[in-house]
């Protein structure tokens, strides 16, 4: 069964550093998403991406964040200058119709 994959599974970085989280959505899916889950809190929406542009974003997704689909398979989330409060589990999701989203295993980001 096709799955969403994410790399790396864990990343530790220093405050102020740039990080890039990578996702390979399910092949032939058209809609792509990033969510995050701070430890002990709800899963929160960050951004959705369709047809090579952002279709929706939350107030969390400020200028420090960007997304890109550099080729036909990868979908990336970049955090330009990480803060302590960016420490969280980041989930990528994809969807064929935008009605049902399928999630990857997540990347646990720790900012020191």
């Amino acid at each position: 069964e096709p799955e969403v994959t994410q790399t790396p599974s864990h990343q530790v970085t220093q405050m102020g550093q740039e990080v890039i989280l990578r996702c390979v959505p399910i092949s032939n899916h058209l809609y792509f998403y990033w969510y995050r889950q701070i430890l002990g809190q709800k899963v929160e929406f960050l951004v959705s991406f369709y047809n090579n542009e952002i279709s929706e974003k939350s107030e969390i997704f400020d200028d420090q964040f960007s997304v890109e689909r550099p080729d036909g398979s990868n979908f990336t989330l970049k955090i330009r200058s990480t803060k302590l409060e960016d420490s969280a589990m980041y989930f990528c999701a994809s969807s064929w119709t935008a009605e049902t989203q399928y999630f990857g295993p997540g990347t646990r980001l720790l900012v020191l």
Partner: protein, 112 residues
């Protein structure tokens, strides 16, 4: 904007007993409803979904949920739980082809 309330943060239950995890939502428009499960150190797996049609939906691993529009609820049930059902369960809602809004999760602890 929509919101989701999961009334129980933890539900302890004995193996082979029935269980109900409660979910209520708030929205001014029609919604799609989902239950996701997160096993320890894993990502979010889709359990079941309600998009339209029959209000009783069946999912994987013997779970089912009933959409009740008048009570704005989407409670998850299983007639007989197993130890392997121990996990965090998240109710989520979306309005059409939009981002998911998640509840705070319910930790199901199945005891032998």
């Amino acid at each position: 904007a929509q919101s989701v309330t999961q009334l129980d943060s933890q539900v302890p239950v004995f193996e082979e007993a029935p269980v109900e995890l409660r979910c209520n939502y708030s929205s001014s428009v029609s919604v799609y409803l989902f239950w996701y499960v997160q096993y320890p150190n894993q990502g979010l797996q889709l359990l079941l979904k309600y998009l339209s049609g029959s209000t009783l939906v069946k999912g994987i691993n013997g779970f089912e949920a009933e959409f009740n529009k008048s009570q704005t609820s989407f409670h998850l049930r299983k007639p007989s739980v197993h130890i392997s059902d121990t996990a965090e369960y998240f109710c989520a809602v979306s309005t059409g082809r939009r981002a998911l809004t998640f509840g705070s999760g319910t930790r199901l602890q199945v005891q032998p």
